[in-house]
Symmetry: C2
Subunit: 414 residues, 2 copies
């Protein structure tokens, strides 16, 4: 396959990739280099290579999932790293992907996303989260079950510590006052809501579209002894907004990625509507660098149907229109890569359990997803933003010194 | 003038506005309310009211400048506050201004701004800055001559202290390393460049388009004993970028407002070109809340010809395209209002000196500008953003703890 060879010759300059073919031939690309992995893969039949060339966006992922592309030395993480590290985003590595065709594809996806109404949203969320809490228990932190970027302020932290640090980091930015009502949009398994109810004198409403999440979140709140101050509900944020309830604080962590581009205006309009005049909101979301663009095909097909990763400019443009004032933005840059590496490691360690729950193909799909995401956050075009919003410029202290102070208080036990 | 009366009846609900007319009649609008000023104004002839109705955007300002609208009780600051506080931005007070007509006006201005080439840029800057350093010496802080938003972390600070705190705040965000080369785009009277050269082991190049600024900046660098580590030059950033020089750090404070919307892409392209791979940039700029829109007519005509106040989404959209990664954004919200109040106070105190330098009309224009800007930052649609950029996600520490640490070090004398 001369075309694939040419691609690999250009794409692998540092590090080594060996490709073994069904006919017994082996080709070697690149050269040994510090910090770059060495990987050997084998195509079990000639259709695998054709698959990659026919559908460059999905072919390699599907060949790997199907077992026609086997990694004999190294693993999927190393393979993805090898390709990404040779094509770093900030070195212009992804520029070539931006073509007129890609833009058209992006627009088509946007049109489809426009239909991300309540029924479809629930199906999309079920696709990812109702596959069973058991899977998430196998790789997320045990204490808070956070399925979003952790915060790693110190060397040598465990995932559990880093997720607790993340909760404290966000709680501090909410500038909570006693007695306030907090809304958690996309509450997952209740980690954030339970943390806030335990460590601050507030009541929390957590909403999700996943029945599996709702059940476990409720159970965990009871176990934590804070069920009386938390209300979990299976409801779409749009339906909640229509009821006219308001909240002093809104927090939304790792949920905006599911909203879909066409619903951004609606999302922020509803948030602004639910926020009191002196309200504060904290949005924690993955961001796409380099400007707006379509989310990759693999993620859309297998991982997050209906999802869209926004560029910061898109998020801010949508929130500006409804007079939500961006008061603070932090780009967590490498924190998500550190988190994903830990998730990947735990998945690999729990390989047998995951295969027992699903099958080999699922395990390969899941590790491909985590490896690809790690590379995207390390040297590709993904990052994670925490955007703090207020409606009123007097709603927050004059300087952001309170953030570090409150964070330290939370970490000392509230 | 029934139309103006109706407008004031709607627009002044809290606080009191008395309007005396040439025919001796007096009308009173609003009611006494805590925190809202009471103002009495007089029209010296009937043409003043017509002027306001004919040109709502400029009429009142010009009537005040011409002396046909006289403030008999209170001052221009109180009058502007009264109108703004009754029409707060976050309460929707400015929504009505956004009309199709206004959008068309915005587009027309953008087209004209598109021609903000080097020769015109220099003329625009000369309009504002070459009117004489003497004026700026009368109201800016004496130590650093900072003509941009100060930073007020503590109660009871002087303007001098708050501007020094601003310099430390920005210097900290630059994450400077010994021996680095820093570019200051729009260096003004050299305050930032001199501060960095004095307090960090770096060399600085400061560029401006104002000959008056260049002369004074150079003189001040000599007086501060750091002339050997600073090079000031009268050069357009576009011409500097064309030379191919690179810098480890770029700082640009209160200059982006002069760039003009049509040149945003060019500005960031040139910044990205001048920044090293591991570079960091700090952009300090006024921001328009509520999304993109035209800068007000008074400011454009009398204060900053060619200027454009960007919404955060516009700034970020332009910088994303050239792979400048927004790593941190701070909205200084009320800090500029505090700064402007102090500038206004010093102008009022130095009224005689300003009138002696120019004339009464200039003095009224200048105080109208400062009063209007104060109100815009207090309850209108203006704020001030500090946006930190990096090209490489490894260029900065993992968390932003270094900012507070370095700031404290700078404040303790570097």
């Amino acid at each position: 396959m001369a075309i694939l060879d040419r691609f690999l010759q250009r794409g692998v300059r540092n590090g080594v990739l060996e490709v073994a073919r069904p006919d017994g031939s082996v080709r070697r690309f690149g050269k040994s280099a510090e910090g770059f992995p060495e990987v050997r893969l084998r195509f079990t039949n000639s259709s695998a290579e054709r698959q990659i060339l026919t559908d460059p966006r999905l072919g390699a992922a599907e060949a790997f999932m199907d077992g026609t592309l086997i990694i004999e030395e190294g693993d999927i993480m190393a393979l993805v790293q090898l390709l990404r590290a040779n094509n770093r985003w900030d070195k212009g590595g992804e520029v070539r992907e931006v073509s007129a065709l890609k833009k058209m594809r992006g627009r088509a996806i946007t049109l489809i996303d426009g239909m991300n109404r309540a029924a479809r949203a629930k199906a999309n969320i079920a696709h990812h989260y109702d596959i069973g809490n058991a899977l998430y228990r196998l790789f997320l932190d045990t204490d808070h079950m956070q399925y979003s970027c952790a915060y790693w302020p110190r060397e040598g932290m465990t995932l559990e510590e880093a997720q607790e640090a993340k909760l404290a980091h966000i709680a501090a930015k909410l500038a909570l006052e006693p007695g306030q009502r907090v809304l958690d949009i996309g509450c997952g398994w209740g980690g954030m809501a339970i943390y806030l109810a335990r460590h601050a004198d507030v009541s929390v409403k957590g909403i999700t579209l996943s029945e599996e999440q709702l059940a476990l979140a409720s159970e965990r709140a009871v176990a934590a002894g804070v069920a009386g101050r938390i209300e979990f509900e299976l409801v779409d944020y749009r339906d909640l907004a229509a009821r006219g309830e308001t909240f002093d604080r809104i927090v939304s962590v790792g949920m905006f990625e599911h909203v879909g581009q066409a619903q951004f205006a609606r999302y922020f309009r509803d948030c602004a509507k639910m926020l009191t005049d002196e309200g504060v909101m904290l949005l924690h979301t993955i961001g796409r660098m380099g400007g707006p663009g379509a989310t990759d095909a693999f993620t859309r097909k297998y991982i997050f149907p209906g999802g869209y990763i926004p560029a910061l400019s898109e998020t801010v443009a949508a929130s500006e229109r409804v007079r939500l004032m961006a008061t603070d933005v932090e780009n967590l840059r490498l924190h998500y890569a550190l988190t994903l590496r830990e998730w990947y490691k735990r998945c690999v360690e729990n390989r047998d359990a995951i295969v027992a729950l699903y099958d080999e193909r699922f395990y390969r799909m899941w590790t491909f997803y985590l490896a690809g995401a790690t590379a995207a956050f390390e040297s590709g075009s993904m990052c994670n933003y925490q955007i703090q919003y207020a409606r009123n410029r007097h709603a927050l202290p004059l300087t952001r010194g309170y953030m570090a102070q409150r964070e330290a208080q939370f970490l000392q036990g509230g």
